[in-house]
Assembly symmetry: C2
Homo-oligomer: 564 residues x 2
């Protein structure tokens, strides 16, 4: 067998993984990794923490767990891989099976032959055509150089004001990093909410928390221009005419697959703009694989192609591409369900599977439930979490789960991602056997309790609605009777402030006479988290009230402000 020549383009996440896997599975292969930047294997997901100063040492973003920086010498020695940095690929000749490269420092050029090529060209930040985007002071946070620059700024220019355009994951993480570093940062998001992977009930809770920590957030309005003087940013003008003075603008609209090379080489791109591959990560050319942010992948829940530019998937895709390039299509990548998590100050926000919005968009008939609870028993120093469970109305199959809060969202989201991957139903999760001890979870795990709520809703035992639906019913003149069933002390500390009546659950059976005489009149019950609210609904229904609904998640999940 002659030596197989594997060329990998791109050295951030998918590329090094593909190259390493290929070499491990075929020590005789000649594996070459070409990287345009000067660094390799950058932990780009760590940039916000580096900007915030939480990651002290820049090298840690580039190092193995043993502390060795992953440079060309490391790849040569430890991995047996030829890694060429500062080397841009300028073209691919699929006939001749060569790539043309150019040193960005010296200008040197050359051709490199391959037997199998793996494209891991990543993504590029989207920069919308806003006037002024060319001004000095307009940047992104997508490269290590960006991160260096922002870290420097955050450390030295604390008085400057920053506007972040885009309230997605990167925008919110960047905002947190700057505020944590002591800067003044405003997120401007054109959509009505930030973090569009979350349904609004949960996104609003995250926004409230970010705002309470000093972040400024403006939603529902775009940017009409970035303004400047002497070539430097002085502010932005919003579509509604408002002016925000600032000296730094960070574009965080999102990223687009970097497909210039693939397109020029005539490889098929998909409807999302990403490179099309099959399950083996093989492009339209059987000798060319692709992995990472530059490809589109299958959403396992909808079957539709989507872009999923996440570091974890890049690694898995790279592992598959690297293996198949040397062993000949023995591995498959099954696609994504769309799982993400982020830290926003003391909050964690996570989502796996489809949001209600996206599930409906994909044509599912869905049922949902919202649950608020502590993350573990009160005696263990619990913190609240709020989650939303989305399931298929017909089969009960879990389609999505989102969770936010100060508590342990991480466990909840990870376990529910596995539940979705396993095709579990609401009934399955309702009876799941998870590890329990007081330091780690509630005896009835939060997500299991969320499944109990949804199961109760699906069976008509509980009638609930989200904060958003409840608010619109209150605002739109339906005049529901708002029944708070907490204790008087709880009520004194904090309440809805919308004309509610307090009847503690423990007195409800005796005080039914205080409710509206008309048993068809709408009643909304709730408590702190609406467990007691649900019990109140059951009591009222048993007593003939038949228009009773529960405010799901209670006051903990109410994002519209409480009266104190």
């Amino acid at each position: 067998m002659s030596t197989k020549r594997i060329v990998v383009i791109g050295g951030t996440a998918a590329g090094p993984k593909a190259a390493s896997r290929a070499k491990r599975l075929d020590e005789t292969a000649e594996v070459t990794l070409l990287q345009k930047a000067s660094a390799l294997s950058m932990a780009s997901c760590g940039y916000p923490y580096y900007v915030a100063g939480e990651v002290k040492d820049r090298d840690m973003l580039l190092a193995t767990p043993a502390g060795v920086v992953r440079d060309s010498a490391f790849f040569a020695g430890a991995k047996g891989i030829i890694a060429k940095v500062s080397t841009e690929v300028t073209g691919i000749d699929r006939e001749a099976k060569t790539v043309a490269w150019k040193r960005v420092d010296t200008g040197e050029t050359g051709l490199l032959p391959y037997d199998k090529l793996i494209l891991c060209t990543g993504s590029v930040p989207k920069v919308p055509p806003i006037p002024g985007r060319e001004l000095a002071g307009v940047t992104t946070l997508t490269s290590l150089e960006d991160a260096d620059r922002l870290r420097e700024l955050a450390a030295t220019n604390k008085d400057e004001k920053t506007v972040i355009i885009g309230g997605g994951l990167i925008g919110m993480e960047t905002c947190e990093a700057l505020v944590a570093a002591g800067m003044d940062a405003t997120v401007v998001e054109a959509l009505p909410q930030t973090l569009s992977f979350l349904d609004p009930e949960l996104a609003l809770l995250v926004q409230n928390h970010a705002t309470s920590k000093g972040a400024k957030i403006i939603t529902g309005v775009g940017i009409s221009s970035i303004n400047g003087q002497d070539g430097k940013v002085t502010g932005v003008t919003l579509a509604d005419g408002r002016e925000l003075p600032c000296t730094l603008v960070i574009m965080a609209i999102g990223v687009a697959p970097n497909t210039g090379l693939a397109k020029a080489a005539g490889l098929a791109l998909g409807p999302t703009g990403g490179i099309i591959t099959d399950e083996r990560m093989r492009t339209s050319d059987p000798d060319v694989y692709a992995a990472g942010d530059c490809v589109e992948v299958k959403n396992r829940l909808t079957g539709e192609p989507m872009l999923a530019p996440f570091g974890d998937l890049a690694n898995l895709e790279g592992r598959v591409a690297g293996e198949n390039a040397v062993l000949g299509d023995t591995a498959t990548f099954p696609g994504t369900i769309g799982s993400g998590i982020c830290k926003i100050f003391d909050f964690t926000a996570a989502s796996t599977g489809l949001s209600e919005f996206r599930a409906k968009q994909a044509g599912f008939d869905v049922v949902t439930a919202i649950n608020a609870s502590p993350d573990k028993p009160g005696f263990m120093g619990a913190k609240p979490v709020v989650s939303k469970l989305i399931a298929d109305a017909k089969t009960g199959r879990i389609l999505g789960f989102a969770c936010v809060g100060l508590g342990n969202v991480n466990r909840q989201a990870a376990e529910m991602a596995m539940a979705i991957l396993g095709g579990l139903t609401v009934d399955d999760v309702a009876m799941a056997d998870l590890p329990y001890a007081p330091p780690f979870s509630l005896a009835i795990d939060h997500a299991i309790a969320t499944a109990h709520i949804l199961q109760n809703k699906m069976r008509g035992l509980m009638r609930g609605q989200s904060s958003i639906v409840a608010k619109s019913r209150i605002d739109n003149g339906e005049h529901p009777y708002l029944l708070d069933v907490r204790g008087p002390k709880e009520f004194e500390e904090m309440r809805l402030g919308r004309g509610e009546t307090l009847i503690p659950l423990g007195q409800l059976r005796k005080r039914l006479g205080e409710l509206p005489a008309d048993k068809q009149a709408p009643v909304i019950t709730y408590c702190k988290v609406s467990m007691r609210g649900y019990e109140a609904q059951r009591v009222l229904e048993a007593n003939g009230y038949d228009n009773v609904t529960v405010l799901e998640g209670g006051l903990v999940a109410w994002p519209f402000g409480l009266e104190q």
Copy 2:
């Protein structure tokens, strides 16, 4: 419809849950809860944290998340349930459908009729027939009164020595509680290891940690007697003749189902000694349900009945029993996979599904892998975790997962419990899409990486062995060539100390000449976690060495002491 009378015996976990669920689903039912103890709904899993002083306020063990103590008045008012405490049930007449009760304080007696009865009589601590077990100073940690007594002792008698008989979950948690409270505590376990739900490689790591924190652990030897003077404990004598002076002995051998009432009433008990129920939690009498520690449940992996006295399952079983008692068998409890987690000082130890030992006992042909890694990227302040994955050799179906360490074991165990419940295979987990961001996990989640290792082993790409197998090969004169492929600095700080050779991975390809000339000679490779150890194995095999194996988990998973 006449009022349905539901009687629930037992008021700790399953009982209150069953009663509450029954009342919520049928407000017209008359639900009576009979409890022998004076307290209700005790968070018994919290006792160790209460003894340690971590839980300050005793009422928190008895309170709702809103801080209301769950006493009889609470049950009457909020739940509509008649809860009678200090009321022992002395007999069940299944013909007459009555239970006979007796007030433990006043001696008053009476009969209570039922339409449906739910037995939640819990468990009793096992007390083996060791001479001296009747001495003052011999106790258990199974009731709130036990917890009160131990907390008092731990607070006031710090100089006393304690011996804990039994190194299971409760024994180790109790030991931690006492050591954390500043006492001298020794666990004596007759088996060769503590925490028998873990395979020994992982149990030894936990023991090492506990010992480093001041716990004393003696394994592989039983207690022959508890000794005393004037009716009070003065020490214990071990089976090997050793004497341990102490003034307190805590029996933590485990618990047995409390089935006296059920047995006397002629209900069927199973081979494990627990009450037999069907999936609906119905006993051999269709009008009697049972839930919680007193029942035996189906192990979903082996199909065999087992005892699973855990608070989370008690709640789920109680929920099913309570529903079925009023609605007529609409709910089912599918059984357990055996999931548990515990905190041992700064370590967390968790297991879900079967250990290798138990899987083999159940007749499975298993494959396993051990993985050690940080729990998140190094730049985020990572802590190590070590896991073991057990799968069916034929189908690749995950049978078990255990994880221990200073890092985030909780997420790993919860997600893998769901993976087992979903019937996922090693290949499925290897390509799982889990939420990732640097504060929460590695880009390739630890459990996914463990699946990668097992996948590599199943495909013959990686040849590994556990620390225990490697140690026995070293000890038994096989003289394997021990190849440490870390860096010189790492080697200097800490090493195996068994005659190993250091050749850093980066130099291995050039220094093959230093290896044994006989390419059939046994070589064991490793590094800190054995990722590089695996790469070394691949390099050596590609160069003709064909008896190379990897020490799985590397030095991090080596529980037999390292040379510093």
